[in-house]
Amino acid sequence: MKTSITAKCRSLSPTSMILFASLMLMAVASTSWSDLLGSWYASDPRAAVYSDARAEFSRIFSQAAREHVPQQILLNKLREGEAKGVPANTLVNSLRFELALLSRAKVILGRAGFGGTFLSPVADETVKDVEVYLRSGLPDQLVSNLLSASAARHAGKQAALAACGAIMDLRAVAPMEDADSLQIGKLLLASGLPPSGYGSLALVYGLGKSRGLSHDALVHDIIINTLRSGGGLAIMNRKIVSTPISEPLPPSPAAQLVPKQHPSTRELVSGKKINNR
């Protein structure tokens, strides 16, 4: 038997062997990418709770594969639902919604010129970023406009995503018009500030509110005017600090979303970077 196999191998030309090896590698690779759902069922004992919903999950994952949506993000949502003990039908609906968000994110990124083509596929992390922005309530058009503005300025993907993130954080504490959001985002991109500093706008806003400044004064006089005149966060801070303290306004509805059952102090900032490794 061994001899005959060896003989057959010898009879294969190098061309055929290379082709065969390539096809095998591609087959193995495609199998490992496409069977995330199966691996989850096989490896996680708690996944058995959702055995009745497997067909529906498979349909959603197949659709994701057809639309070239990152399935790993869908799997994470599945795991989150499982960890939180979500009923099967709720989980199915959530996955459908997640898939829709991811598809929208891919379209927005592609339209803004940040990949999404066969030759330059968009990274899963980038799709995830945009998905979170959409989930937070940022309108598609606003995200699309910010990404396009960044592409037009050659500011880069990182700056574009950071600007979207800054607007998301700002809108979490300050109800804002889309026009103002877009203006601030564009000014950030043109400001020359490092993208890692964009996120401080929400803190600046919080500081201003704590000193009793009105929403309009903060958004237009402090943030927009400072950015427009080429200033940065330090000038915004100086303007706020130099403003006489008035009676603080009641917190915005968005700020009231923060649960109150676990009070804390500003020193206990969670999710804070403590050192580089």
């Binding site: 993000i73 989150e80 960890a83 939180k84 979500v86 995830k128 979303l257 804390s264 804070k272 970077k273």
Partner: protein, 211 residues
């Protein structure tokens, strides 16, 4: 269509069948096609060929002088040497090494892409992120998020002073993470200190961390 156009049609039909009209007739057809809109539309594309056959310089070599017999024979000798591969009835002419080379290139490009993607992720800065949660009455606080595949019980916070629970987790920069705290293995609570919280799609909230 007038009589002249009919004559032109007939002459063109003859010409297409290999009967080359006399030079005078060819020039007649050419000149008429230049002035008659109908014939110009129909035969405009043929004008260079007609001019060639009429002996007018047109950029095209006369048909019988396109290439020498020696050159044709040389080309045909080379053509017969090329291997012919058959794929389900269709015929494709190719060199012996072209297909395996294309296969290897495709494989290398695919592997290169995967390696590049892994490299890009590994070169993202890795930082230690401290998560803190104040829950003096809790007996256990754990953390789960998409950074650990939402595996419960993997990241247990340590209780410090004044009921503050804490854990440090290494995470890559340039990414967005969603996470929540699990109190006593029962209650999921978003981080009160996170800058943003989003709807988790299950009726609760998920904390957002941008690094």
């Amino acid at each position: 269509m007038n009589e002249i156009c009919q004559r032109v049609d007939a002459a063109i039909r003859e010409w297409e069948h290999g009967d080359i009209p006399g030079t005078q007739n060819l020039f007649f057809i050419i000149n008429h096609s230049r002035t008659c809109a109908r014939c110009g539309r129909s035969y405009g594309a043929l004008l260079p060929l007609l001019r060639r056959d009429a002996g007018e310089p047109s950029g095209l070599a006369p048909a019988d002088q396109t290439c020498s017999t020696d050159f044709t024979n040389s080309v045909m000798r080379r053509a017969t040497r090329a291997k012919v591969l058959r794929f389900s009835g269709s015929t494709m002419q190719t060199a012996k090494w072209a297909l395996p080379l294309a296969g290897c290139l495709a494989l290398l490009l695919g592997l290169g892409g995967l390696i590049l993607q892994a490299h890009m992720h590994s070169t993202a800065e890795r930082v230690m992120v401290s998560f803190r949660f104040e829950a003096p009455s809790a007996s256990q606080v754990s953390l789960a998020g998409d950074f650990n595949g939402w595996r419960v019980g993997e990241l247990i916070l340590k209780q410090g002073q004044s009921g503050v629970w804490e854990i440090a987790v290494p995470l890559h920069t340039g990414a967005i993470y969603t996470y929540d705290f699990l109190i006593d293995g029962q209650q999921w609570i978003p981080d009160p200190h996170s800058e943003t919280q989003v709807d988790d799609g299950f009726g609760g909230l998920a904390s957002v961390l941008r690094l």
